[in-house]
Symmetry: C2
Subunit: 288 residues, 2 copies
């Protein structure tokens, strides 16, 4: 059996009881280590689970699936994923390979950012399509996520923006020299995401394009959701550029039309009176 | 402290380790019992958690919040919610009351249908706005969810349809007589939901309206997601009318534009070759 087990968000104790039982019963346990992270590392998980974990980087999952699935028809193998196994990043390839090899699989679900973000005070069923923001380079500055955010806003919907993670990346130089030297991991912050959005807004404003959002649009920055030291900050996009929400992972929500109950909930995580000012400033956000 | 604890989907063992520790440390534990259910009842949970649970029906949560929050500034109180506390149904009111009473609150997240539905093979970030289908009555047959589904489809997005739950409902007769006699609980099935959608399609076709979906649109019916006996059925809307996915809870997904990898995943839960036939039949679903 192949178990795909969600670890939830936060730390080692966020695994479900069913998930922990499965981990302890498996002969091999892989930890997917390139699409998300918990606030604790591999060693803390190993100690808590009482099991040795095998780190599964992108290469292993994408090219070494046979290794992961080896003997899984006669023994139990666990594949651990931060959040839910079918959350923001799915592991469909691994599942399809298991199915085609006649290996049964079972999913043990957990919270992911896709549903836990509801704790910021915005109703999940008022969210539209989720988007991803990637680190821009000198030559690659995609903007398609911006259009999706605006489309959601036109329909009155909020947008969850997942922020880029770069782990085990090689510099172009090292890659060309064939050196397996990796850059330090990078996690996009709410501040960096807000800055990127503002650059797009400013560029489009210069071009005279219609703007679906502005620097004054109400947004929510969240960090380490589910952890003891989680941070939630409701502010304008402009204000979020200068906010420091601490360590990874961060996500950003761009609001659409706000329901009064949502405003009340957002107020819990905003400075006193700040939200009223924000809602006055942001004429594009109607509060009906 | 007020703990809002998600129980996840499935059975008693789907609570997180952190959640279970919190439940066991609380002096009073409420079980929210009107927006969702697990596959096991209150007694099984009590035995597993080693705690007595107080059933919280809609009346208690909406009118008796003071009772739930009593002394929560000096003792720990848990409020258990199937799925995630901020999943499909939020409990913002309770949180806002706690905040205004100076009672700190903490959320322990878990899987909800809003993210676990990803296991059907459709990518979560390709979902648009979530909709709810309610039981129609002779005089009340709302159709607004249909327009939202079509809007999502136009944008290429899938739609998660949450299906109605009626617990502790009084008949109009008993309500008028002031008799506190309740009807047996009702849970909308995938079959009933598909039938309701087809009635709307047929009515609109007669009116000559443009149809955003048809009886041949590919849909996915899911039941008891996360439980040992979960069921996932990929078929046309028409075929789902006659499918029996067993006991509650059921949900329905109406697909939008399908990615090849999604088609491969859907195939896992469809009859052999069925999906290819479906995709040919459903000319409104492009597979690009």
């Amino acid at each position: 059996m192949l178990y795909l087990i969600g670890l939830g968000l936060g730390d080692a104790a966020d695994i479900t009881v069913k998930g922990l039982q499965a981990v302890r019963s498996c002969s091999r346990v892989y930890l997917e280590a390139y699409t998300s992270i918990l606030t604790v590392g591999k060693e803390a998980l190993e100690e808590y689970y009482g099991k040795e974990l095998i780190l599964a980087d992108r290469d292993l999952v994408e090219q070494g699936a046979d290794e992961i699935l080896k003997d899984a028809d006669v023994t139990d193998v666990a594949f651990l994923v931060v959040g839910d196994p079918f959350g923001a990043t799915t592991h469909s390839d691994l599942v399809l390979r298991a199915v085609s090899s006649g290996i049964p699989y079972r999913v043990i679900h957990n919270a992911s950012i896709m549903n836990a973000v509801g704790c910021c005070g915005l109703q999940l069923y008022n969210f539209g399509e989720t988007v991803s923001l990637v680190f821009w380079t000198d030559t690659w500055r995609p903007e398609s996520f911006y259009d999706k955010i605006c489309k959601n806003r036109t329909a009155g919907l909020h947008t969850l923006c997942l922020l880029d993670i770069k782990v085990k990346e090689q510099s172009v130089e090292n890659m060309m020299r064939g050196k397996k030297i990796y850059e330090p991991p990078r996690f996009m912050t709410v501040s960096q995401a807000a800055d990127q959005l503002i650059q797009i807004i400013q560029r489009r404003r210069k071009e005279g394009a219609e703007l679906g959002m502005t620097e004054d649009t109400v947004c929510v920055g969240v960090a380490r959701l589910g952890a003891d030291d989680q941070a939630i900050r409701t502010a304008t996009l402009r204000q979020l550029v200068s906010c420091d929400l601490g360590g990874p992972l961060h996500s950003l929500v761009v609001t659409g039309r706000l329901h009064p109950l949502e405003v009340d909930m957002l107020r819990v995580n905003a400075e006193p009176n700040a939200l009223d000012q924000l809602l006055v400033v942001d004429s594009s956000t109607s509060c009906s």
